[in-house]
Symmetry: D2
């Protein structure tokens, strides 16, 4: 076996990536592991020990929560990025960040390749490989789990042979990915779209019927499209998200259940729980309706969908993403103010809004005597507004009006 | 005063339209009233009597609920039409229908004009006038309330002088419009966006905290994008909507609270309650995710926004609406199946989906041994998928990766 | 070698597909060839003979020109389909048609596979394979040229060994594909985008400077978005296109030169000559401006781009294509009339338009005394139209106006 | 008559604006005129004298060509802004600039209002009034020509009475507006869309058949989306545009003839000549195809249309314009290089492109042995790319293939 050089492996400490360490060693690589803390529940020191014991020549563990929020979650929030109008991209947003640090460690360590533990049918393989290719086109990307064609049994056998501890507890029926922006749940009974997601698949959110009996109110302060305070207290992004996950999760808020189009060409049933994302996205959208000009709001709607799409398909490090960010950053300059949110048994509802940049003008909107809107302009406006439709119908007369027989309409 | 001919007035029986009857008579018109039942609470016979007593030469009362659902609500549901992504267009959809019957009565009666009771700052004046202009470009449209410049006091005085009964009860603090597809609430304390909508502004929905303590499940059957059954029982549109309004309303489902951009150039705070619309739209969207091809789903998202916009601005009888309908009708041919919905204290959640047209394929989606997806294709796919981004970065190298100092990331 | 069954090969009679016949036989297939006449210059009988002599067990030659025009070219014309706003999709449109007949012959012949002669980097492999997969998901698709990894020399050697006649004339420096809707030219000196396409790469069009010295006028009649007559003479689609190719090509009209993004991730320099397409698209667009409502025109612009994209990437037999067609068919119902076109030394210019469905209204447009437009409405219209911008600026005042120093502006 | 204060009038020196000076004086205003040089043919000193002689209390004449190019034309060029895909917005772009200086002079002079000489049916009234309202919401805008309801005869009589010189030459049959970015021609025989625009309506462009008999080549250098050099010589914007107008105009390049949807609801026949705009837009678009990523190119296409629309309807000083500019500026950072353009008898064709930022990669695009594209990836790519269409057809089988009878296809 020839020595092939170093490879940097994205390492979670689970069975797949432990086996991958050995398997890559078998292929002739020295393995360096990289474990990123993006807010999942993880004991970084234990993971590091495990990696080294399994044979890694070096093991990086990195707390990337701050960068995750500032450079990945926040731009997505400005864009209200939800794939297919629904999925807040929690897992998708962490991949380009992890890819970045795989590349960085590879450059530090003089590695020839990086590796990930994805299978051949998910989205994450696409995201890792496209992002690594963007950041360092010369680095190879290995996908041991996609290549080794192990059955579950073979994998366990291989693990035992190589002294890798195999979890004795029953494997969870679900496949889970978690970070600060949410938790993704797949597999098991969820593979039948007719099945209601059972309580045991959720970890961050209470069942609504077990949530507190009284509504809970909070005020979220925004500056230029980003949340900066909770009930008046200024908070950093990671802390604010953590707090919101806790509070809103306890209120049963944040569950998402959808059929999702995978980039690789099939539909998948996905369940998410994203308490902070759901609350923040709702508050942000409401505040935008108060502070954005109508035409900006309309133009942005279309771009939001496309931004969600590009994050989903691994195009984070693309020029389109940068150009959209320029649009969003400019548009968000005015999205400052406070949203008052009511949390109650599964639902987060914005019930109050205020902003120094509010475009809501009492004197125009009111139906009281304070009204300053020029009603007289309306007539001319409507004449012009309707002129083209009228012309259309003069050229293409509507068919003679036919109506249900008079009796049918009560005459 | 010259006799000017007949005018057909959209007549609700409220103070404004009663005064309008007299005022139009003062201008030299014979007034024919037209009152449409689109599902609001209304005693048609009493309205007819009142119109005739007030001086109308003829009074039409018409039950338009069936046509409202089939020709206005259903196309909007196929399009998931929500103005600014939020407002289900309940009031907006009724205007072109009422305009149609104003025109029809005018043609029956040989009238020279139609009239509505809108002020000069709302949306409805636009919708009425543009729609009437489309259906019969030769008809004049009068807007007495916009023209008479009465203060509230003057109006009441005028009413008394002309023998029009003035309601003795205190005027509701809210301005209300209602039909089968929902109820719109404006004015009063709602004019301050910071105020939470008080319980007394709602009529169709329970406060969530007063709703039943147990989740309620229902199965809604769809055929080609439209609901056709409830819990297995086939139902006609109006009955199904009425039933859903009742059930979901009792569960506190259907409240919407938003800042909305009026066509006439200012923002307005609007509150809606639309139990049936919220449940049906949610179920319909979920079923679309199961049955529509990804690219149809994406293309439709953009058109949905534009369809919502055109309904909002009075362009119902426009060629764009017809062309969009052709697209939606074609796309909806496959949107058949059943959505299982859980209603609980303010929230309607789709928890199960099935369809003969499901594009969800077990054998592709599963992570079990039944998997038939060709994992080997993924590698080639990703190479091609990421090639352009890689090329971009070869021409425009990413800046050297800089990372927070190692300590900051936990090394 | 096991017998694998029959394969239907898309067969042009050129060296590649002749070698493919033998190569597929070597793999254990009986080969049936299918040659489609889509308007290229081809001697169908000679091709058939050659196929049979090379060893094909059966050889189909089919005149598909009529279907090509009616089912592929005309829908694309309604959509003004041009990939990246420029390429009229001439080659792209023929692929789904040929794929259809490959499938049809395969079903007739009981074949297990179809095959095409594309390499691994073009667009056409994608189109063939996706379209065949759509029409008969059970059929295998073989790509001998992509798989055999022959160099040019090896291929010629292989041909000689197998008794396949090798053309003695020098190979053209260009790679050509041709049909009724145009001719595509690649390779050779064109691979450097700085090189002007030389005269020798063109076959359908005269160099503009060699074209006639006098302008030539023609009148093209359209019905519902499609051309039906030339200078008043009713003509069938294929004949009309052929005539336009001849006339406009002689005038030097129809050359297109562009950098194009291939689906497979890189840019390519492509030269096309499409005299009929350029003339018809220009006339059609001009007539649309006369007959379509403004909002339809605007909505269609966006869909045109997406339709061009889906035809380019092989999604012809997709539900999105069908739904777009429904939109376009509806919208095109009014696009009837006559466009007068001036052809002169490379350029086709629409210089006159008339239509019974013209939305151009003299009395509204004129600046003469015949003007019936209500100028008074303009004031009210503008007040309302500008209100939101005014409000925006009241909330976000424009910076104090600064101007270049007075001298700079001539004071 | 009460003294109403100062008004600043946009003043061309033509009959309408001369009469407007007097008419505004009659209404009680002191009139200050403002004449902007945006590249039209104008003797500023003579205009100033005329204004003062007619009674203006002050007369500003300002050379705004530089600002017109840098702040109005260049952003539009980055956006390839063409209304309805065709009109380069030459007149439209000058209005917000003139509005700015009307406001500035008004603020300098302490005026209470500004005034323009537009009628009630054009676009320019909208642009002036919306832009003035955006820049200084407190300023009134007067529209004497819209208000005075003079017939041509009455206007001339009024002029004579007030000592305003009336042009003795026959009025041009056309209505003209001109600046550096182009010339707009309306009225007269052009009001019938069937009439070919006669030679006498053009001033900047030669008839193609009178243009030189030899092709003329030029090289235009771009930096970040903007032209900076001509045939290697660095040039400032205004000079470069002037030079291009001269050269391309002599070659007959730049004529545009279209039916255009006015914002005020009707269609109008418009003829433009914009030699520089046509050449630059074509070169810019070609260079974008070489340097922009595919997805940026596609996303931008849609925004280009919307940007053209907002400039057309007077929304230049809107937040949407600013946000789009941010997107375009970011995207244009790479649009640098050289376009070689061939001008010949009415047509400008890009025949060569080069750029340091070229994304065209020889080694990927070539069909020679230098090819580095991984053909093997194509198979996997296509499998994945076509999977969803295949699934669609498995669920919704294509109808059995029917073909024209065999004879019809030549069998």
């Amino acid at each position: 076996m020839t020595y092939k050089g170093k490879v940097v492996l994205a390492y979670s400490g689970g069975l797949d990536t432990c086996v991958a360490v050995k398997w890559l060693m078998d292929q002739g690589y020295d393995v360096v592991t990289m474990t990123a803390d993006v807010g999942q529940v993880v004991d970084l020191e234990a993971v590091k020990d495990k990696a080294l014991k399994t044979g890694a020549v070096n093991a990086y563990v990195m707390d990337l929560r701050e960068e995750f929020v500032s450079d990945f979650v926040w731009p997505a929030l400005k864009a209200n990025a939800q794939y297919q109008g629904t999925y807040p991209l929690n897992s998708a947003l962490s991949r380009p960040l992890i890819a970045k640090y795989l590349v960085w460690v590879a450059q530090m360590e003089g590695a020839v390749a990086v590796a990930h533990g994805c299978t051949g049918k998910g989205q994450d393989q696409v995201r890792f490989e496209v992002c690594v290719g963007a950041l360092d086109p010369k680095l190879q990307v290995l996908a041991p789990v996609r290549d080794w064609h192990f059955s579950r049994e073979t994998e366990i056998e291989y693990a035992k042979e190589h002294g890798i501890p195999v979890p004795v507890t029953a494997k969870s029926p679900y496949s889970i990915d978690e970070n600060m922006w949410g938790r993704a749940i797949e597999c098991g009974v969820l593979e039948d779209p007719w099945n209601e997601p059972p309580s045991d698949c959720f970890a961050l959110t209470a069942d609504p019927w077990d949530a507190p009996d009284a509504p809970l109110y909070m005020e979220i302060g925004f500056e230029k499209g980003l949340p900066v305070s909770l009930d008046g207290a200024v908070m950093e992004g990671p802390a604010l998200i953590a707090k919101l996950n806790e509070i809103a999760g306890a209120c049963g808020v944040g569950r998402i259940d959808m059929i999702e189009d995978r980039l690789v060409g099939f539909k998948s049933r996905e369940v998410y729980e994203c308490p902070a994302a759901v609350v923040l996205m709702g508050a942000h959208k409401a505040l935008e309706k108060l502070t954005l000009a109508k035409e900006v709001h309309a133009a942005k709607a279309d771009m939001e969908n496309k931004y969600g799409e590009l994050a989903y398909v691994g195009y984070w490090y693309s020029p389109l993403k940068e150009a959209y960010d320029a649009f969003f950053d400019k548009a968000q300059e005015v999205v400052s103010g406070v949203a008052r949110v009511r949390l109650y048994k599964g639902q987060a509802v914005v019930v109050g809004l205020k902003s120094e940049n509010s475009l809501y003008q009492d004197d125009l909107a009111t139906y009281t005597d304070a009204d300053t809107f020029d009603h007289g302009s309306a007539k001319g406006f409507i004449n012009v507004w309707g002129l083209a439709v009228k012309t259309w119908r003069q050229v293409h007369p509507a068919e003679a009006l036919t109506v249900p027989d008079l009796k049918a309409v009560g005459q």
